[in-house]
Each structure stands twice: as structure tokens, then as C-alpha cells.
Symmetry: C2
Subunit: 313 residues, 2 copies
């Protein structure tokens, strides 16, 4: 595959920035990859791991001469980083980001100079780990990357960014920013807040000692703790920057939860059974869409797993 | 390993009953395994799969002459099954169950005759699948099985049941029934209801079409849909039979959720960050307790997984 960009600058070298570096190298999608992270510690780790061809000492130095710049920092840091690199950006460079929220990030990127092509994007891929050690080249394979182009944006730049993500393994789709923020509030942001909350409740329980909750963590809770182990800064920024959509979905969630609580209290088994039957179908859809497998999840190390069962489809 | 029981009768041949049959055979923990399920379809599947040495045509026939009987039916069916088998039970037989709720099941088992030894238990192991095809011998390996003995119960019977579960691979612990029901409300029952609710909300969203929610299901939501794909009958029965503890935990959950929603609304980033930092620690505890691994979860088929990363501990 030919190198799509001559010099790719990655600002932020955590899970996402590090994985982009590794995936771009695997794909030969970049002539040269230059990275920058704010802490000396992360820059040293990136050098030790060989994530990039070069680790710069400032964001401005990293972006100088780049034809693609991707901001891989928390959503709340986008504006300051954009302001910092602005003066160093070459004419016509494609500037993108990986932020989990799009509306607020697009507003933040308005500080960029007019002579660059802004193409916001969000790869729907991640793990609960963060930092430079957590990146890996396969992260984006067969995952979606949502591009949320600006009205009147350069279509050539958009096409080149889409090609870059395809080279990294992702399936690229376009979506309007507001729609992105609502869809993600349903599929990711609200579920994360709910998982954080449930784990917080467990931690609070005085009568149930912490160690018992940990010791006997069954399937449901164990999954919640994994979700709730995600990076606090990233998620604080997501909620503060996707406030309206998240609060709307949480409002609906609370309404439904109250209805089910009432069914439990009044002993309305039919209502519960009907509800649980309906939610099963959506799972089937996710498996059919190739976004998960029907293999049972044991929450165990792969070496302990029995042979994968015949999927039921 | 010697056969701990001569004739083990399993009433209910779904995920748990089927897995007990397979695990007992693997361990040589039973001289003969006799199974029964209410539908002809499940009995036929059990025969085809060779789950048991013998599939009986009635529950009474299955338990006749057994020295261990385990009820592997939904919690709400325990009383009727116990009433049905009562007259056929031999003197001194150990009667146990695997119900996810203990207080209500213990009350249901009061219909059993006085000459049997009732030893209630709950293996903390499962998947989101159900039915006879979903069982496998490794399900209980290194999982806890909580025994909730009755006051004044026979300690020999309790010891024999505990040995049986150890032979099946489980770590056996004792717990009072009320405590069991509260701990499980935190670690399993409330998380399941919350997952069902969130998936229901997603399904309801009119502006976000179902197909988009499914298509772009990111990590958080995907895990919720897996939890919410669990058997509707089993879970209806769990909630109806562990009403008080589940409602108490849900009440606490709602309180905390409102506090976090408020922090989002008012833009209190510090409160969110502190909360998310605290919940991270509990995850660490679960990994240290060996109930999950630190390997990142990609929600992919194992064959697609990159090499397991070095766990961060
Ligand atoms: N994790 C996911 O699942 C996921 C998925 C899709 C998109 N995203 C988005 O990807 C972005 C990065 O997330 P990540 O998971 O890669 O996070 P991460 O592993 O924590 O890495 C974040 C990087 O940003 C830098 N950074 C943090 N705060 C900064 C600030 N105030 N100013 C400048 N740089 C700062 C960090 O530098 P130091 O290391 O020097 O502190 C680090 O290099 C976020 O916008 C997130 O919303 C995340
Ligand atoms: N799944 C888990 O994660 C898990 C974990 C620990 C404990 N448990 C407990 O284990 C028990 C069984 O769960 P499972 O997952 O094995 O369920 P399952 O796979 O759905 O199997 C249930 C079995 O019970 C039979 N059954 C259902 N309703 C009945 C009724 N009204 N009367 C008589 N028999 C009936 C079914 O017979 P047919 O097939 O003929 O319908 C089937 O053989 C439940 O008490 C559950 O709380 C489950």
C-alpha cells in the first residue's frame, strides 16, 4: 500500500495515538510518523516502545511540515492544543482528531487557522486501558471510524483522511456531528456513566464489605467494573462536552428504570418478562452486524477458555 | 477421584443442569447421572447430547433412588418441583438447588419432607446463554459456589455437597441466605436490571434508529446487550424473589446517578473525576482476586484477538 501522507503528526500518544502510530506503520500509510505528548514520561515511553519514527519536544515542532495532524488528546484539551499548533501548521495540511464527542470538539477547532483542512473523526474502538503502553496495531481492524465533516469542508481532504483510516483497518462512515453525539450518548456515554455509578454504589455499601463484593463479582458486575476502569480524565471530558445528549438519554433511562422497579415492587412478572424478551433481540442484531460474537463470555483469561462454542446463528 | 454420590438426579437440564452433568462426569463425582426436564424437546436434546446417563420421563422417576438431587430450574419453579418430587425422595437424600436467590428458595423448599437433607447452594458461574446446548464441563472451574446452609441442618450432608462442588471445579464458601441475597443484589441482580433498562432505552429511541445503535455499538453498550440477552424467565424470577434487596440497591443507585447527572449539568468536572478515579480501584481488586483478567477486552472472537498484552500488574 502506498504511503497516503508524507509526514503524520500525532499529538497525544496514549491508547489511541499509540495505536494509530502502530497501525499506520503496519499499513505503510505514512512516510514518517512524528509524535508528541505533554509529559516527558510519555515521550520517553514512546521512544522506548518505538511508537513513532520521531518524538518531538513540542507540539509545534511535531506538526511543522506535516501534511496530516491528528489530535489524540482528551476532548477538553483539544482547544488548547489547537491554539498551540495553529501558528506552526503548513498551508493545506489536514487536521483531524479522534475525540469521542464531535460537536464540542468542532467548536474547539475553530481556533485553527483558515488555511488548514479540518476533518473531525472518531474511531469507535478502544479498551479500558490508557497510556502509551496500551496501544496496538490491530485496535481499529474492522471497527468503524465516523467522520463528521464540516459544511463546506474540502472533499479532497476528507477523502484522504478516510483512505488513511481504511488503511488502518477501519470501516469509514460519515455522520452529522449532532447525530454522532446522540448515537454515542446511547451506545457509549450513558452506559459508561451507569457503569461508573453502579460500581460506585457497590464501593459505598457498608453492610456488604468491599472484599465480598470483589470476591463474588459475578458476570454482570464484573463487566461494569471493566467499563468503569476507563480513564477518568477522558470520561470527565466526554460528559462535560456531550452534556445535552447524555442528560437526555439518562433522563429516559431513569424513567424506564422506575417503571421496571415498580413492576418488581408490584410483582408484575409479565411486564418484566416482556421487557427482557424485547432486549434480547437487539443483541442478536449486534452479533449479526459483526460487532461481537455469540461465543459465551466467561471473563477469563483466553488460556482458560474452553473451545469456542458453535455460534447459535 | 472417587464417586461422591451413587445416583445424582438433576431436575432441569439447561445451562446449569447440563453443565453440572458434564462437570460431574468429567470429575467422576457421580456413579450415575439421571436428568429430567419438563419439555420433551429438552429431554430429547439431552439424550442427543449425552448429557446424562439416563433421561427420565418424570421428575419423580428421576429422583427415585437418588442420593443427591439438585434442582436446576428457575427460582419461581422451585416450589412446584419440590412438591412434585417430595413423595418420591428416599430417606436421607441430599436435596440442593442452584437458584440465584436463596431466601425465597429456602422458603419454597419447606414443602420437602422432613426426612431429606436440604442444603441450598448457588454456583456463581454462568453465561448469557441458556438451554441444554449451552452447558459445558468447565463452567464452574475456579468459580465460587456459595452454600447457604439451614440452621440445624445436617453437617454431613453439607460436607458431601461441598465436596461434590469442589470436584466440579468450584471454590466452596458458606454464607447466610440474607447476606447472599444482598451481596448478589449488588454484584449481579441490580447490574442485570440496569443493563436490561439501558438496552430497552436504546431500543426505544425513535430518533436514533435501531440499526444505527446496533451498527455503532461501542464497548459500553455491547457489554450491556450481552448481559441483557440473558434468559427472561430466569431473571423475572430473580427480581420477583429478591425484591427487597434489589429495590434497596436500585434506590441507592438512583441516588448516586442523580448526583452524577447533577455534576454533569452544573459542569462539576472535579466531582466526576474523583468519582471515576475511585471506581477504578475496585476493578483492580477483582483482577487481583482472580475473577477476571487485565487483558483488554475487544469484544471480538478469540481468533481475531491480538496477543494478550502484558497485564499491568
Ligand atoms: N480510550 C478509548 O476507548 C477511546 C476511543 C475512541 C476515542 N477516544 C478519544 O481519544 C482521545 C485520547 O484518548 P486515549 O484513550 O488515547 O487517552 P490516553 O491513553 O489517556 O492518552 C491521552 C494522551 O493525551 C495527552 N494529554 C492528556 N491531557 C492533556 C492535556 N491537557 N494537554 C495535552 N495533552 C494531554 C496525554 O499526555 P501524557 O501521557 O503526557 O499525559 C496522552 O498522551 C480522547 O479524546 C478520547 O475521547 C478514546
Ligand atoms: N444462567 C446463569 O447465569 C445462572 C447462574 C447461576 C445460577 N443460575 C440458576 O440456575 C437455575 C437454572 O438456570 P439456567 O441458566 O440453567 O436456565 P435454563 O438454561 O433456562 O434451564 C432451565 C431448566 O429449567 C426447566 N424449567 C424452566 N421452567 C420450569 C418450570 N416452570 N417447571 C419445571 N422446569 C422448568 C427448563 O426446562 P425446559 O428446557 O424443558 O423448558 C430447563 O431445563 C435458575 O434457578 C438460575 O437462577 C443461573
Amino acid at each position: 500500500m502506498s504511503a497516503h501522507f508524507e509526514r503524520v503528526a500525532l499529538i497525544g500518544l496514549g491508547l489511541i495515538g499509540g495505536s494509530i502510530a502502530l497501525a499506520a506503520r503496519r499499513a505503510g500509510a505514512a512516510g514518517r510518523i512524528v509524535g508528541y505528548a505533554r509529559s516527558e514520561q510519555t515521550r520517553a515511553a514512546a521512544r522506548r516502545l518505538g511508537l513513532c519514527d520521531e518524538v518531538a519536544e513540542s507540539a509545534a515542532e511535531a506538526v511543522a511540515g506535516a501534511d496530516l495532524v491528528i489530535l489524540c488528546v482528551p476532548v477538553g484539551a483539544m482547544r488548547a492544543v489547537a491554539a498551540e499548533i495553529g501558528p506552526a501548521l503548513a498551508e493545506g495540511v489536514v487536521v483531524s482528531d479522534v475525540g469521542s464527542v464531535k460537536g464540542a470538539v468542532i467548536a474547539a477547532l475553530e481556533v485553527l487557522p483558515a488555511h488548514v483542512h479540518v476533518v473531525p473523526a472518531h474511531p469507535l474502538a478502544g479498551t479500558e486501558h490508557s497510556g502509551p503502553e496500551s496501544g496496538f496495531a490491530e485496535l481499529f481492524d474492522n471497527r468503524y471510524c465516523l467522520v463528521t465533516p464540516l459544511p463546506g469542508g474540502d472533499s479532497g481532504a476528507k477523502g484522504r483522511l478516510a483512505d488513511f483510516w481504511r488503511a488502518l483497518g477501519a470501516n469509514v462512515e460519515e455522520m452529522a456531528p449532532e447525530r454522532h453525539d446522540l448515537v454515542l450518548a446511547v451506545t457509549s456515554h450513558a452506559p459508561h456513566l451507569i457503569a461508573y455509578t453502579m460500581v460506585g454504589v457497590a464501593d459505598d455499601m457498608r453492610r456488604v464489605t468491599k472484599s465480598e463484593v470483589i470476591k463474588y463479582s459475578a458476570a454482570g458486575f464484573r463487566d461494569f467494573t471493566r467499563i468503569a476502569a476507563s480513564d477518568p480524565t477522558m470520561w470527565r471530558d466526554v460528559f462535560l462536552n456531550n452534556k445535552a445528549a447524555t442528560l437526555e438519554i439518562l433522563g429516559r433511562f431513569t424513567e424506564e428504570l422506575f417503571a421496571l422497579q415498580r413492576a418488581i415492587r408490584t410483582g408484575d412478572g409479565d411486564q418484566l418478562h416482556d421487557y427482557f424478551t424485547r432486549t434480547r433481540a437487539i443483541r442478536r442484531g449486534i452479533i449479526d452486524a459483526g460487532q461481537d460474537t455469540a461465543a459465551p463470555d466467561f471473563g477469563r483469561a483466553p488460556t482458560r477458555k474452553p473451545d469456542v462454542r458453535k455460534p447459535s446463528e
